[in-house]
């Protein structure tokens, strides 16, 4: 309230359009963006912020101010896709670890499916199956949808008009990516030594490729 008054006297009000007030001073806009981002349950784009600010505000500039204000702090303003969110500074992640309760591993099928969606989006179920070489169970897709890591994209304009899957902003957020394009390509993976196809020591399940394992047990059943 007091700031509203300040704005009225502190800055020259735009008298051009009657009934419109001048935008609040930038320091106040910054406060507003700070509060909105803090309270929001999801990252917000500059456009979404602008919608919620009084007319005449410059969300982008306020974001820039806020970003530098929080730079080096315990919490940072980060960009997530086209949106912005407050996040714990990466170097303090360990402070949050004590709270990590009941973590579960994602199934290999789910990880692979997720990876394929991320690298090939928009991608149809048939394409995922082609790349994986095995059928993708409904449960796997459902789990990823439930985790809000993938979502339905536009239907493919081919016979049958199959649905496609794309990754979500939540996915980018979780994996610390600004966009899916930031995922390293095959060449970079190779350079990083990730293309070595030998199983990682102590990596269970690597020799339990679904197809192979099934075949084996069938063949040598006691």
């Amino acid at each position: 309230m007091s700031d509203d008054r300040e704005q009225m006297t502190g800055e020259a009000p735009e008298r051009g359009e009657p009934g419109l007030f001048a935008a609040p001073p930038m320091a106040e806009q910054e406060r507003m963006v700070e509060a909105i981002l803090f309270a929001s349950a999801e990252p917000l784009s500059a456009a979404q912020l602008a919608e919620r600010l009084p007319p005449g505000c410059d969300a982008t500039e306020a974001l820039a101010h806020l970003r530098s204000r929080y730079s080096g702090r315990g919490v940072n303003l980060v960009r997530v896709g086209d949106a912005y969110a407050m996040r714990t500074a990466p170097d303090l992640g360990w402070l949050m670890q004590a709270e990590r309760v009941e973590t579960r591993k994602l199934s290999r099928a789910a990880i692979e499916t997720l990876a394929i969606v991320a690298y090939h989006q928009p991608v149809t179920r048939a394409e995922i199956e082609e790349i994986r070489g095995v059928a993708v169970s409904r449960g796997t897709i459902d789990q990823l949808l439930e985790l809000d890591w993938i979502r339905l994209g536009r239907r493919r304009m081919t016979p049958g008009r199959p649905v496609t899957f794309v990754v979500t902003e939540e996915f980018l957020d979780h994996f610390g990516l600004e966009s899916a394009r930031d995922l390293p390509g095959l060449k970079e993976l190779r350079e990083a030594g990730l293309l070595d196809s030998r199983p990682m020591p102590g990596q269970p399940g690597d020799d339990e490729g679904e197809g192979a394992a099934t075949g084996q047990s069938e063949l040598f059943e006691d």
Binding site: A39, E112, A115, L186, L194, L195, R198, D206, Q216, F220
Partner: protein
């Protein structure tokens, strides 16, 4: 008050009086009704005339009776008590009488009303405060905290990239890579069996030739039986061992080829 109502022909006043009675359900008990009635005196609750209030209340109860409205028992209990209070206030105390004076009782009632009023105002002030979720907000996206409500799926970017790398390179590497730790290769079985055969002069079950460490886990066992069996076939073909089986599904037995040692 009662007289007022009856003497006046004013329809609106009459209606208001009836509304008061009919709305008896709207009151939260006798104390609430007394508090409402006391407002008519338009004075500080500390200076309220309890006698006047008692008369108002008794008038109200009488009116309700006249209109054949059934009042809850607690309204009647309060009416009886107020009638008693009224008599105590009006009559001088008898000498040597026990118990509290009318003034003490009246003061207590006034204090009860004041306390109820105070609590109502406090409640209103409380609800008028800034409230969380309405006027101020907590973090909308709290990060993983001690709340054990959710199962977090632990997947790092590296897992994703590894999975993808595995998928994309499976085709070009698979035919050549021997990446299974639970497979006992045929070549190894052949080499092992070849070195053991010279000592096998008696019929011995094939299982006896399985290497240590491969006889337990079913998966490993299957693999080693298969490769050792294949190796035995090869050695039989070469003529260095003999194989026999007493009946279908009986254990396979082998021994060094007898003739050869004699030659």
């Amino acid at each position: 008050m009662t007289d007022d109502w009856e003497s006046r022909d004013d329809i609106s006043a009459r209606r208001a009086a009836e509304a008061l009675i009919v709305d008896v359900d709207g009151y939260e008990g006798p104390l609430d009704l007394l508090l409402t009635l006391s407002r008519a005196q338009k004075v500080d609750l500390r200076r309220i005339s309890v006698l006047q209030l008692a008369e108002q209340y008794l008038g109200f109860v009488e009116q309700a009776r006249a209109l054949r409205i059934e009042l809850a028992a607690d309204y009647l209990v309060m009416a009886a008590w107020l009638a008693y209070l009224k008599s105590r206030l009006l009559l001088p105390p008898e000498p040597g009488e026990e118990g509290p004076s009318g003034e003490e009782l009246a003061a207590h009632l006034a204090w009860q009303l004041e306390r109820l009023q105070a609590m109502r105002e406090a409640a209103a002030r409380l609800m008028g405060r800034d409230q969380k979720g309405r006027d101020f907000f907590a973090r909308g996206q709290p990060e993983a905290l001690a709340i054990s409500r959710k199962t977090r799926f632990e997947v790092a970017l590296i897992d994703l990239m590894r999975a993808y790398a595995r998928l994309r390179t499976r085709d070009e590497f698979r035919p050549f890579a021997f990446d299974r730790s639970d497979i006992y290769p045929y070549e190894a079985a052949l080499e092992r069996l070849s070195t053991l055969v010279p000592g096998a002069s008696d019929w011995t079950a094939l299982q006896a030739y399985l290497p240590e460490g491969w006889r337990g886990a079913a998966k490993r066992k299957r693999s080693v039986i298969a490769s050792t069996f294949a190796a035995s076939l090869e050695l039989a073909k070469q003529g260095s061992i003999e194989l026999r089986q007493t009946e279908s599904f009986a254990p396979l037995q082998l021994r060094r080829r007898q003739g050869r040692a004699d030659e």
